[in-house]
C-alpha cells in the first residue's frame, strides 16, 4: 500500500507522470531489487558511491557488495542487513522507476527524505509505514476534527472486512473531505451513540464496483441492481457495523444501528463527511463516514 502513497507523492511533485507511474506499478512485480537501491534507502551509501560501484562492476567480475566493502563504503554487517532487507513494495516501485530511467538515484534519496519531512515522520514511523502496516497507514491518513479514534477503529475494521470477504488486494488511498461527490449507488447505515451523536456510514460508488462487492459477499454473480444485490450490499455494511458495535460495547460504548438504506444517484448534503477511497482488483469505491 505504501508504494501507492509514495507513487502519488511523486506524481503530485511532478517527478513522474500518470503513465510512468502506472507502468512502474505494473512492472514492480517483475523488478529485481538492487543492493545499491536498498543501501541508499538505508542511508549506508550515497547515490554517488552506488554509481561508482556500478561502474566498477562493469570491468570486474565481482558482486556489488564485495566491491562496496573493498572500497570501504559498506561494512560486512551492513551488507548482511541489506541482504536480509524485506523487499518492500515501495522499494520495488523505486527500482522500477530507476530501471526505466524515469527517476535517478539522487532524486530517489532526496524525495524519500522530503516525504519524511513533509509528513512529519520519524525514522521509526517511516519504517512502519513503508513496511505496509495497514493500521499505521490509516492513522497517518485520518484527519478528522472530532472522534478521530472512533473513526480510526471503524476504518481499520472495515478494511479488515473488505480484505476478508471481498478482495485481498485492496488498498486505501488518501482520505479526503466529502465535496459534493455524486454517487450512482450507495448503501448507508446510521449509527447512534448514547449521547445522541449520529454517525453516517456508507459504501458508495459506480454500479459495477458495488455489484461486484454485493456479489462477492453473497457468493453470487450480479449483473444488475436487484432486490437481492441491494440487500447483499446493505447486509455487508450491516455485518461490519454490527461487529463494530460489538467491539465498542467491549469498551462500554453502546451503539444502535438504524436499518440500512440503498439509494441511487445520491448527493450527500453534509460537509462533515469524509471519503476513504478503496482500490480493489475490480475497481474503486468509497467508504463515506462522518458525523451526521
Amino acid at each position: 500500500m505504501f508504494a501507492e502513497f509514495f507513487g502519488n507523492y511523486l506524481l503530485n511533485k511532478g517527478i513522474v507522470n500518470t503513465d510512468d507511474l502506472q507502468k512502474a506499478l505494473d512492472e514492480k512485480a517483475k523488478v529485481r531489487l538492487k543492493i545499491g537501491t536498498i543501501a541508499i534507502n538505508k542511508g549506508y551509501m550515497t547515490p554517488k558511491q552506488v554509481k561508482e560501484v556500478n561502474e566498477l562492476q562493469k570491468n570486474k567480475d565481482k558482486y556489488f557488495g564485495q566491491l562496496a566493502i573493498e572500497k570501504g563504503y559498506l561494512k560486512k554487517d551492513q551488507l548482511d542487513n541489506l541482504l536480509n532487507e524485506q523487499k518492500s513494495d515501495y522499494l520495488l516501485l523505486a527500482q522500477a522507476l530507476i530501471d526505466e530511467d524515469i527517476m535517478d538515484m539522487e532524486t530517489f534519496k532526496k524525495e524519500v527524505s522530503n516525504y519524511k519531512d513533509e509528513n512529519d515522520l520519524s525514522d521509526n514511523a517511516f519504517e512502519k509505514l513503508k513496511n505496509g502496516k495497514a493500521e499505521f497507514i490509516i492513522d497517518q491518513l485520518l484527519e478528522f476534527d472530532k472522534d478521530k479514534e472512533f473513526f480510526s477503529k471503524y476504518v481499520k475494521l472495515f478494511y479488515k472486512n473488505i480484505i476478508r470477504f471481498i478482495d485481498v488486494n485492496t488498498t486505501i488511498k488518501e482520505i479526503k473531505k466529502y465535496e459534493n461527490e455524486e454517487y450512482r449507488l450507495i448503501a448507508s447505515q446510521k449509527i447512534k451513540k448514547e449521547d445522541d451523536t449520529f454517525y453516517f456510514t456508507g459504501i458508495a460508488g459506480d454500479v459495477d464496483s458495488l455489484l461486484k462487492i454485493s456479489g462477492l459477499y453473497a457468493e453470487e454473480i450480479f449483473n444488475e441492481i436487484s432486490a437481492y444485490s441491494k440487500d447483499s450490499l446493505g447486509e455487508f455494511l450491516n455485518l461490519n457495523n454490527g461487529l463494530f458495535s460489538v467491539n465498542m460495547s467491549d469498551e462500554d460504548i453502546d451503539l444502535a444501528l438504524s436499518v440500512q438504506e440503498i439509494n441511487t444517484d445520491v448527493k450527500l448534503d453534509n460537509n462533515l463527511l469524509h471519503i476513504v477511497p478503496f482500490k480493489t482488483s475490480f475497481g474503486t469505491f468509497d467508504l463515506v463516514i462522518g458525523i451526521y
Binding site: 470477504f165 459477499y217 453473497a218 457468493e219 453470487e220 432486490a227 437481492y228 440487500d231 447483499s232 446493505g234 447486509e235 450491516n238 455485518l239 457495523n241 454490527g242 461487529l243 458495535s245 460489538v246 460495547s249 453502546d254 444501528l257 436499518v259
Partner: protein, 117 residues
C-alpha cells in the same frame, strides 16, 4: 429435521440455507422475512430449530422468542445476529434462546448447533 430461518435479509437467508444444506442436504428449510411471519410459520410447520435475527421489521427477535416460547416452551431457538452485544445476548438468553451466534458465522458454528438438536 425442519429448520426455520427468520431474518429480514434475503442474503443471510440464502447464505445460511446454503451452509445448512452443505452440512446435511436432508434438512428441510423454511424462510421467514420478518418477526410475525416467523411466529406464524413456527406455529404452522413442525419446526425443530429456529435461527433468528434480532433487528427485524414487524416484530424484533426478542419479541419473537417470547411469543414462540409462550406457544411452545420446548422450542429450540438460536439467535444469529450481527449485533452480539452483551445487552442483546443477555436479553436473548433471558427470554429462552438456546444460543447466540455473532454474524458472520462459520460452518463449524452451524454444524455444532445442528448436532445439538
Amino acid at each position: 429435521m425442519n429448520v426455520l430461518i427468520c431474518d429480514d435479509s434475503m442474503t443471510i437467508r440464502k447464505k445460511l440455507s446454503k451452509s445448512i444444506k452443505s452440512i446435511d442436504d436432508n434438512i428441510k428449510i423454511f424462510e421467514a422475512s420478518d418477526g410475525q411471519q416467523g411466529i406464524d410459520m413456527f406455529k404452522e410447520k413442525q419446526v425443530d430449530l429456529v435461527f433468528l435475527d434480532i433487528i427485524m421489521p414487524e416484530k424484533n427477535g426478542i419479541e419473537v422468542i417470547k411469543e414462540i416460547k409462550n406457544y411452545d416452551s420446548k422450542a429450540e431457538i438460536v439467535v444469529l445476529s450481527s449485533v452480539g452485544t452483551e445487552k442483546n445476548l443477555k436479553a436473548a438468553l433471558k427470554n429462552g434462546a438456546k444460543d447466540f451466534i455473532q454474524k458472520p458465522w462459520t460452518e463449524k458454528n452451524i454444524e455444532t448447533i445442528l448436532k445439538g438438536v
